[in-house]
Point group: C2
Chain length 166, copies 2
């Protein structure tokens, strides 16, 4: 396959994949573009290559910086900023995981913790409390794991599971 075709497929696929996971298509595409670019790109480069507006490029670049997936880079003698993606897939995975944990998992754990103390003891309330309890237990365990596990723990787990269990 030719490079430009492959790049294009990758950008499209990453965009589609992202939008199935609640990340907007452009943000995922900008990320994809930076991921496979050997050098940092300017806002204009991103606009051109993806055919998106300046505002859109800017907003998504900022969001990616927020997520720690992209860094600003200054080139000496250049006024404008350049952007460069983190290329280490483990760091990418970690940053995405941490960010979503903070934004989505933690609030859910907190809510479930409250809900499992709902007052009452009829069948309906019992079913509700049981579910809140079980979900709280699962989500808080996951939360704890994400807090404490390191890259090497996860690598070990993935390796162990994918070889030992073969």
């Amino acid at each position: 396959m030719e490079l430009h075709e492959a790049k294009d497929k990758f950008i499209q696929a990453w965009g589609a994949f992202g939008s199935q996971w609640g990340i907007n298509r452009s943000m995922a595409q900008v990320h994809a573009l930076l991921l496979i670019s050997p050098d940092p790109l300017s806002t204009e480069d991103v606009m051109e290559q993806l055919n998106i507006s300046r505002g859109n490029a800017n907003m998504n670049l900022r969001a990616l910086i927020d997520w720690h997936l992209v860094d600003r880079v200054l080139k000496t003698g250049e006024r404008r900023e350049f952007f460069q993606a983190e290329k280490d897939v483990w760091k990418i995975a970690t940053h995405i995981t941490r960010e979503r944990k903070k934004r989505e998992l933690e609030p859910m754990v907190r809510l479930l913790g409250e809900l499992k103390q709902t007052s009452g003891s009829n069948a309906e309330t019992k079913a509700f409390k049981q579910m809140a309890h079980d979900l709280h237990d699962l989500t808080s365990r996951i939360d704890a794991v994400l807090d404490r596990s390191t890259r090497s723990d996860v690598q070990w787990f993935l390796k162990a599971a994918s070889t030992l269990l073969r």
Copy 2:
């Protein structure tokens, strides 16, 4: 907190959570409603309690059945169907994981496998191939783990990680 307030909060939160993860709000809300209901509900019950149309209720119930998150139940002497959610949180997690693996992860692994063989050897192509290779490696490891890991493996991992690493 009162039951009806708690139920409502849970349904809203589950709906919002779902939509951040690419699952539509109604599907997640129907799921939430069934999760906390001690008895199976009919389509009409779902329509009333969530204020959604018949078509919408029906479509999302079918989708939940597809995902193996909800079962049809027949009550003797009743013409219509009732619906009941799987209540075991581990089974819920497993079914969601398996389904998303099949729909999203597997196609991505396949694509990356192709892309990492792109022809060429200049800096741009090399950067691209490297990224495709790294992502393929990560995603296929995750894929392998999801294939082989059982409930008890995961429970063990979560427990070990959340207690030993404390």
